[in-house]
Amino acid sequence: MPSVPRGQTRLAAVAGVLTAAIVAFMVAPMWHDASQARAFLDAGQKELGPAGDPLLPRTVVEALERADQGGGTWAVVTPPLRESSTDPAAVGELIALRAIRGELPYRPSDGERISTELYRESRSICGDINYVGWLAYQMLPRALDCRHPHYVLYWRVRAPITAVRIAQGPDWTVVSR
């Protein structure tokens, strides 16, 4: 039986270990993608959003679209996404108050910091960047305006009492300004 040079054996061993490592670590992201695909499929999601969990219900988006049919501008006031799961009411109240008083920017959290930094030109009423970015896609070609919008969606945030309500649901209100 012909003998295999030791160098070649070592090289084959290294190649084998490397291949095994590549394949082993490759499986996790593929599994992740497959699980994500299944979540999208189960939820019937075809546009964009966290898998299986659209950020806002379709009825809310449609209400804002119906309000803003004449080429007006819109904005969305929300609690920060990361904090909304802990104490939405309290955080939402705080933001609404500050938005009304024009006190933004504020910096209670990372998620919020990014949105306020991005809108730091002053008097922006827009909320968490995740909601704003997601809704900006859905609402096109209707233009976003975080300073002087014609229509505002208050999502899990109490709308100002004096605002003209166009549509509302259990935890949202669309108002005209």
Binding site: A28, P29, L48, R113, W134, L140
Partner: protein, 434 residues
Amino acid sequence: MSFLAAVVTTALPVIAGWSATRGWWLGRVLVAALLGFCAMGIGGLLGAVLGNDLFLVGAGLGLVALATLGRLRAVNLERPGRPGRAVVGLLVAVGAVLLLLSVFRAIPTGDAWAIWSLKARAIYESGGIGGPVFTSRAYVFSHQDYPCLLPTIQAIAFKVQGTASLTWPTQWQVAWLWASASVGLVLALPEDAFAQLAGAALLLCPEVLNTSVTGMADAPSALLLLCGAAWLLSPRWQVKWPAFLLLASAALTKNEGTVEALIVVTAALVLRSSKPPRHLWMATVATLAAAAFWAVYDGIRGVSNDEINAHTLASVTFSTVTTRTGQIFSAMAEHMADPRLWGIVVPLIIACLVWRRATWSLTAAGLAALAVLFCRYLLSPYQLAWDMRYSIDRVLMAPLGLLLLGSVLYPMGTRVAASSDEQQRERHPAVGSA
């Protein structure tokens, strides 16, 4: 119609690129797809700048130009040896799975929908670049200064299907790009098992696979850059014009891609002991032209970078530098050591740098790209921990890829340093021609 959108935007580039390639059929299909993607993207982007739905015309003209001009100096793709075929087979299999999954996937991540898909839909709705999404301060979160090659290609799919309410064709496009760029990159590597496996380790590492199908531009930009750099400097590629196309496309895909493409061509030009050959100058001109085109267009629209600008530069103090330096190094090291992100690639880079001779220009380019990233985080106007948590993993792709390429682009035992091009020309007299 969405099926038509996916097929049209991936099959037409293959048809156009087919005449620009010769040789091994599987390599031809995937390299043709890669070159077609770039030609369609650049043509479409030029059309999108003009507005009036001219991005479709521009994309078509880009493909026609590739089919016509590519024929004049076609790329000959040799059938790789057994290790090369095994790695290509693995990449094609993974690519097929990604394509299959893409049919059931919407755009999954925040940055993808807030930056790239938003612009794609805006181009689709308004017929070009120039509406409020690209100029109004309200949309500043979408990084209005970023180049729009990827959104333009997504917008073409929206136009073909007639709606932006289905996004799986865009997932299909990026999965197809991953497969074609991966095979293009591996075919540029030398015929030794270690180099081929190192290439596969980079392309199949968890972070690359995850990021490639999110709809963000980081992976497309990095893959185009790495292919362009490999094509420019690899002794296996004797026709160099595809490198110009790839580097220009990388520069038009993301801001990081612009800087990194400029770094690659500068390092290739400067780190030599002899007069640079003509193809390096041509690559530099192509990359500079792409970067200058977009910078001028940003200026015309009146948008600037929201992260690095006069305001953020003015706010940097000595204390910012000292407190952030440790944080940045530690976050980078943490991500590089994590096997779920870059933990396979980084030990390989170290091993390659120790045991193989490096192509110093690429190694230097990788280090320079890391230094640029470091400075970008130093100047970031956002809370550093937040900023790094959501971006550091994916932006490491190009610098780490360049470092790995730097040490596997030449066969084991080749005396490679600043004079590599001369040796290469001795062995392959045609190298150096565009």
